[in-house]
């Protein structure tokens, strides 16, 4: 049996796992005590040594990011946690915060101490009221217990932590758009450089990290860099949350060492739903180029997925079986990118709109084979031509679906419409559309 490594999820099956009592029962906030005994630079070095890389998609080394913050500059520093989890398919941070919000709060205290920040923010998406409640309570309880506020643990370190609730904009998951949003503006990406480490929130040095990255920090402080780096692969160290959704027998969260394969994960999830076969899947959300059954044995670490032509992303494995129309899937994702384009950069704003028009025609069996080339031409003119990577994300499903399923596009044209029955793909297909 494939080895799983529950660390962040280790106590989610306890009814009070989200309370401060439940968290302390398993050594919660011990890591803060340990970290505050260390020099801040030693904490940064520990995280560098562990090999922890960003779990929000880009995979940038977390300790190195912390090390970019200029020290002794007499400026305020900020830590901002990106809890805007909105990438289609991504569903790891919300269950983590619902079941164990304190591990994030503890990680924030340690990270803030390391980068010498006295103000930290959690930017959480707004469409998750109960996750917001759990975090509000966790923060209030951490203040009451002396883990936040003035002179934490009597060690002279001060930290204010503010929960900031978003309001429904995918683009705010992009770190510079998130910072503009947090400053009280429309959430639109900034031109870089300068990077947030130099001019982030309020133009001050700022670290922006994903929830899972920061939540991994207390376990590293408690168990050491070697413990962490013993898991995973050569350049992708540690454990992480893999989320399986869609046409699998048992969807869910699997915390495993980096480098596990979809074949192994499918064994744990009971395989593709009975009587069906894998058709296509995303390794890390809709912005990562899709894979097919030929990629079942790709190591799901940063290097393995990249070498196979996609990205590890958020490890959001969305699984689709043979009943699914790939054009329908791609059109719907493209409609999403069009809807969520912030409008700042012309190629993205206009290009995503045109992609939707062309794909709608293609799915309806209208248009011609030349439209397939037109799709690729538009994609070529928007990817890499904007301030942020939203347009690159929009390009991914189109390019990859044309690579693996060009025949299915042609089938729509030759048929004069979609040959698939959407009810056959549903979870309640036996009951029909009732």
């Amino acid at each position: 049996m494939t080895q799983l490594t529950p660390v962040l999820s280790a106590h989610w099956d306890e009814k009070d796992s989200f309370t401060i009592e439940g968290y302390k029962r398993h050594g919660g906030y011990d890591a803060v005590g340990k970290a505050l005994e260390m020099e801040p630079d030693a904490v940064i070095q520990l995280i560098k040594d562990s090999g922890l890389r960003g779990r929000g998609g880009a995979g940038f080394p977390t300790g190195m990011k912390w090390g970019f913050i200029p020290q002794g500059d007499n400026k305020e520093h900020y830590l901002v946690v990106n809890a805007d989890e909105s990438e289609p398919g991504t569903c790891k941070d919300m269950p983590l915060l619902m079941a164990n919000p304190h591990v994030l709060v503890e990680g924030i205290i340690i990270a803030s101490y390391a980068i010498r920040a006295n103000y930290a923010f959690i930017y959480i998406r707004g469409e998750v009221a109960h996750v917001v409640r759990r975090l509000q309570q966790a923060i209030a309880d951490a203040y009451a217990a002396g883990h936040l506020g003035k002179n934490i643990h009597g060690k002279g370190f001060d930290l204010e932590l503010v929960l900031h609730v978003g309001a429904g904009a995918y683009i705010c998951g992009e770190e510079t758009a998130l910072l503009d949003s947090l400053e009280g503006f429309r959430g639109q990406p900034r031109l870089r450089p300068p990077f947030p480490a130099i001019a982030g929130l309020y133009a001050r040095p700022t670290v922006v990290n994903n929830v899972e990255s920061i939540a991994s920090v207390p376990s590293i402080v408690n168990n050491g860099a070697e413990w962490f780096s013993a898991m995973g692969t050569e350049k992708s160290k540690g454990f992480t949350l893999y989320s399986l959704s869609g046409h699998v027998a048992n969807p869910g969260q699997f915390e495993a060492p980096l480098g596990i394969t979809l074949r192994q994960l499918l064994e744990l999830a009971g395989g593709i739903r009975p009587g069906h076969q894998l058709k296509f899947w995303t390794p890390g959300g809709s912005s990562t180029p899709m894979f097919t059954a030929e990629h079942l044995d790709v190591a799901l670490d940063y290097e393995g997925v990249s070498a196979a032509g996609s990205m590890l992303g958020t490890k959001a494995l969305q699984i689709f079986d043979e009943t699914t129309c790939v054009l329908r899937a791609v059109l719907r994702w493209t409609e999403f990118y069009k809807h969520e384009s912030c409008g700042k950069c012309t190629p993205c704003r206009e290009g995503t709109w045109w992609l939707v028009q062309i794909l709608r025609d293609l799915e309806a069996g209208k248009g011609t084979e030349a439209d397939l080339d037109k799709l690729l031409d538009v994609v070529d003119n928007i990817a890499g031509r904007s301030f942020c990577a939203l347009a690159d994300g929009a390009a991914s499903p189109i390019i990859s679906s044309l690579k693996y399923f060009r025949g299915e596009y042609m089938q729509h044209l030759n048929n004069g419409g979609c040959p698939f029955d959407p009810i056959a793909s549903t979870k309640f297909e036996a009951a029909g559309s009732r």
Partner: protein, 212 residues
């Protein structure tokens, strides 16, 4: 147009407390907009005036922010705002059929409200619960593993003032205005209610423990 004095002294004091959370006042604009929605149900002209006065910025700047984010509504929504996830994975797993059933059963279209003001309908994007697909959110609470029939029942319950409880959320569903207050950062004391995790969240852990 009425301005800040459309709000009670208590409400204005809460706005000040929200602003005080931040190192710079303008950062409070988003929780203030959520707070206005908790009072009025949507972002009213009076609410924009009040935020403008509190933050000392132009009303046009407040409107520019308000209209950027889909959760801020420029018109009233229902007491129970139903969002059906129609992003690819949920749509394929049944979200499209659920949305059609909801539309037909409630007799309203996208972004419309029933005549009794109880239910409104929105097509929402991925809500980070894909392992519970198809997902429906009501007032931003999770309704997991939905079917066309479960959503018809949900709409009936909402219209009768007796909606079913969220799958992962408080014991009973709060109204749109009440939940907007939570999003503004005001506690309703309900964090302890509901499950800590649903079954899909626990699947890997159970297998690791050898008791799947």
């Amino acid at each position: 147009m009425k301005s800040a004095n459309s709000f009670s002294p208590e409400q204005l004091a809460i706005m000040d407390a929200i602003i005080a959370r931040y190192p710079r006042s303008r950062s409070a604009i988003m929780p203030l907009l959520h707070y206005v929605q908790s009072i009025s149900g949507y972002v009213t002209p009076e609410g924009i005036e009040a935020i403008s006065a509190k933050l000392n910025i132009e009303t046009a700047e407040v409107t520019a922010v308000s209209t950027f984010y889909t959760q801020y509504k420029s018109e009233p929504v229902g007491e129970y705002h139903v969002g059906v996830c129609i992003n690819t994975l949920c749509a394929v797993m049944g979200g499209d059929a659920i949305y059609e059933a909801a539309k037909e059963h409630a007799g309203i279209g996208k972004d419309e409200v029933t005549s009794d003001g109880k239910v409104s309908l929105e097509r929402i994007e991925c809500n980070a619960a894909c392992d519970y697909a198809p997902v429906v959110m009501v007032n931003w609470e999770f309704y997991d593993n939905q079917t066309p029939q479960s959503v018809r029942d949900l709409i009936d319950g909402a219209r009768n003032g007796n909606p079913p409880a969220p799958t992962r959320g408080p014991k009973s569903l709060r109204t749109w205005k009440e939940n907007s207050e939570v999003l503004a950062g005001l506690s309703d004391g309900l964090a302890g209610e509901g499950v800590q995790a649903g079954d899909p969240s626990l699947l890997g852990l159970k297998i690791a423990r050898g008791n799947s």
